[in-house]
């Protein structure tokens, strides 16, 4: 039985070295890996809180993020606006309007749009106060950001 080898001494008259038959599948594999990476990887980095564990919920949505948005992050510990901690979750008032979130957002009304990154375990009772405050501050375009679980 004639076996093909990647490196062979006698390449049928050609100089010894890599066999063409071994290189073609390697190129195919590289192409597949490139397509997979381009499809499944993202160049946009998700904001993370400076401390504590943070995990986004999964979604099947593939809608892309819009640029120029105010980023509000709600972790298990605290609420952050553009990376700055504004209030601890445990100290959120019972009222729907949270002054500690409302005041910084008022200063950013030029951006018009808010992206809310929420930890998957945050209850609606907390999230609705953040969203209501953002809307009251004049932001009509609100979007919830989650980790895309769409497959190839």
């Amino acid at each position: 039985m004639k076996r093909r080898r990647m490196f062979r001494a006698d390449s049928g008259g050609l100089a010894p070295g890599l066999d063409v038959g071994a290189l073609a599948p390697l190129v195919d594999m590289m192409t597949l890996m490139l397509v997979f990476l381009l499809r499944s990887y993202s160049t946009e980095s998700a904001p993370m809180p400076p401390e504590g564990h943070f995990e986004l919920a999964g979604t099947t949505s593939e809608a892309a993020r819009a640029s120029g948005s105010v980023v509000v992050l709600v972790s298990k510990d605290a609420v952050y606006i553009e990376g700055r901690r504004v209030i601890a979750v445990n100290y959120l008032p019972e009222d729907l309007l949270v002054r500690e979130i409302y005041d910084p957002l008022l200063l950013m009304r030029g951006k018009k749009r808010i992206e809310v990154h929420v930890d998957r375990s945050i209850p609606w009772g907390v999230l609705k106060r953040v969203l209501h405050t953002a809307r009251t501050a004049g932001f009509e375009d609100l979007s919830l950001v989650a980790a895309s679980t769409s497959s190839l």
Partner: protein, 174 residues
């Protein structure tokens, strides 16, 4: 006429096997460089965005929908989903247009909301009136973001054939 071929071989010379190994090695090297570049500049976590519409008591009521399914509302309490919808009568012999309010409760399955049951119900409603795109979602205060987004995904449906893509989250006003 003795012309030269693309690879410099004279047309009159006997064909010799061209060595393509340098070309393939160049391609492989380029692929390696691209892979390295991609792995260093990208992240394995892709993000998806869900547009939010928040209901508010101060909002004006929208105009009634012209189709057969007048409105769709999904409430989430614990692990129980409840779908409320208003259907217009299709009885052509009726003297006046009548609407009927219906409700379907979907108890949780294995400690999770019955998303498969919700999808089946929503697909039935979408089949009755494909022009209805709006739905309301009213989660209870204890519902986690993970569960809310899972229900929103079902309400929205696949990108290729969306069910109710215009989702209004209610309960923001308490």
């Amino acid at each position: 006429m003795s012309g030269r071929g693309l690879f410099g071989r004279s047309a009159g010379e006997p064909a010799a096997e061209a060595d393509v190994r340098p070309t393939l090695l160049g391609v492989v090297t380029l692929m390696f460089l691209l892979l390295f570049f991609l792995l260093t500049t990208s992240s394995g976590q892709r993000l998806g965005v869900l547009e939010l519409r928040l209901g508010s008591p101060s909002d004006l009521a929208p105009l009634p929908h012209a189709g057969l399914v007048k409105d769709v509302s999904v409430s989430l309490s614990g692990t129980t989903l409840s779908v409320e919808y208003t259907l217009q009568s299709t009885d052509i012999s009726a003297a006046s247009t009548t609407v009927e309010k219906r409700q379907k409760d979907l108890p949780g399955v294995a400690g999770r909301p019955d998303l498969a049951g919700l999808l089946a119900t929503l697909e039935e409603l979408h089949a009755i009136d494909p022009s209805q795109e709006r739905a309301r979602l009213a989660p209870d205060d204890a519902a986690t973001t993970d569960t809310i987004i899972a229900v929103m995904d079902v309400l929205h449906g696949p990108e290729a054939a969306p069910l109710f893509p215009k989702i209004a989250l209610t309960g923001s006003a308490g």
